[in-house]
Symmetry: C3
Subunit: 207 residues, 3 copies
């Protein structure tokens, strides 16, 4: 009975694959991305030419975010900015020609500055903040209710390639021409022209 | 031609952004979450007041799961319970005021007990079981067909903060007021008032 | 007011849970998977009996991919093949009875060969390529524009179990009956009958 269902719907799918070619689905996806970009772009502090944001991306407080030209945000990327510091506006600045993979998360209360030509894999986290400082009386409270604090901004140079599932934590300067291996956690500065990997990320090659 | 399409749909999006304001989309998402919660809540062993489950969460065997008050499950979190142990019901118990990030996965055949005020990042795995024991003749079989076994339950205290992409493996007791760094894998017990990180997670600060 | 909404839609959800039982939603999901499989299967180099691909999987250049029998690809898995090497066709070959978890990503420009009975967790990356070699003048260019290169294919034996969030990098042979712990990064060969974990993955048990 189940096999009959399988065969029936499998063959229905085969027929659909002739009626609805893949190129058509790609055109529709592009159109959705263009439209979705238009929905969101006017709320940004600035939004460069030919930058696009795929369907399902989420942005909080885009008025603090500046995006250059020719950037691509793939599906389900989130950029969340929260203005919590008194006398200090948070800001996210993204250069030109950056390419963010699926399901990245940028979270900012202080400052995230990204240069040109960044390439990221999937599930990358870039955060300049954490839930509370590490003190005995803070740890006794609910993490969600701890005040967001920032040890410092995140600064990323040009031509940086960040692998899948990397987490970049607050107060980090990443130089130009850096490669960060998959699954790494970046907690310290990385100089120019380096390959780094691990938890915490260590330099495994410097050119 | 492609640029014409881009400009056309980009501006269509701009117009839509006036017709369909973001606050409306947030109201609709809340309504979907309330409804989705109502769809699932009655199947749980218990479901506390003001706990909510976003659209796309998945639950297997909710009759073994008890959820306290004021908990939040963000999108696409999965809780899968499988009763495989003879003479022993699995159970998942979640306290109050916990906040699960997107795409968490709790998988239970034995016992998962979570206290109050848990905060988790995205892509967190909490598992009390694995596919088979590590014996020569077991390894010769297909992992999917190996019997699920549990070395012990997972117990998580109060005020715990679990970073993005953390995996918590079976037979682990995590104390109160613990912080677990992003991308860590927890395989050993963690005492109260600690910060841990790494694979396997080690204590990097104790207060 | 918000509480009134919550109560209203929560109870609407309860009513819906009687009208639309879970088993019905599971039947519909199965039907969608059969249909989606049928849409894609005819484009593959070969597609075995009873292999299925859930809604939302993405495939690039399926004509280079051979899939055996009884394989399961869960939601949002992507297989991307790119023919960039002159005089050399890329190929992905998957045996029988493999079970890929949600949101896996296989990316191939050279060769990925997977045996029988593979089981993977969620967010697993299997890649035989990278963006450019590690040379000073290459690092000065945009990562996205660097030519894709492969140090060697990825070969995975039979009865292998790969944990959540594992990344498997190019030029790696993984033996039979191997277990790879959650969050690991595999950069070296793994012999038969091993348990490995860490970044980079090291043997923690050999039988």
């Amino acid at each position: 009975m189940i096999n009959l269902f399988k065969i029936l719907f499998f063959n229905l799918g085969r027929i659909l694959s002739f009626l609805y070619p893949k190129t058509l689905s790609q055109v529709i996806e592009s159109i959705l991305a263009y439209t979705y970009t238009g929905v969101h772009a006017r709320f940004f502090n600035s939004w460069g030419s030919y930058s696009s944001m795929a369907w399902g991306c989420r942005v909080t407080n885009p008025q603090y975010i500046s995006v250059g030209n020719n950037n691509v945000f793939l599906r389900n990327t989130a950029i969340t900015v929260t203005p919590v510091q008194p006398d200090h506006s948070p800001s996210v600045t993204i250069g030109n020609n950056c390419h963010f993979g699926i399901r990245n998360h940028l979270t900012c209360i202080n400052r995230i500055v990204i240069g040109d030509n960044l390439l990221t894999g999937a599930y990358v986290l870039i955060s300049d903040n954490s839930h509370g400082t590490i003190e005995r009386e803070i740890l006794d409270t609910a993490p969600f209710d701890r005040p967001l604090v920032s040890k410092g901004g995140v600064y990323i140079g040009n031509n940086v390639w960040i692998g899948d599932k990397v987490s970049i934590l607050p107060n980090v300067h990443i130089g130009n021409n850096v490669i960060i291996g998959a699954n790494s956690v970046v907690t310290n500065d990385i100089p120019d022209n380096c390959v780094t990997a691990g938890i915490p990320a260590k330099i495994i090659k410097q050119l």
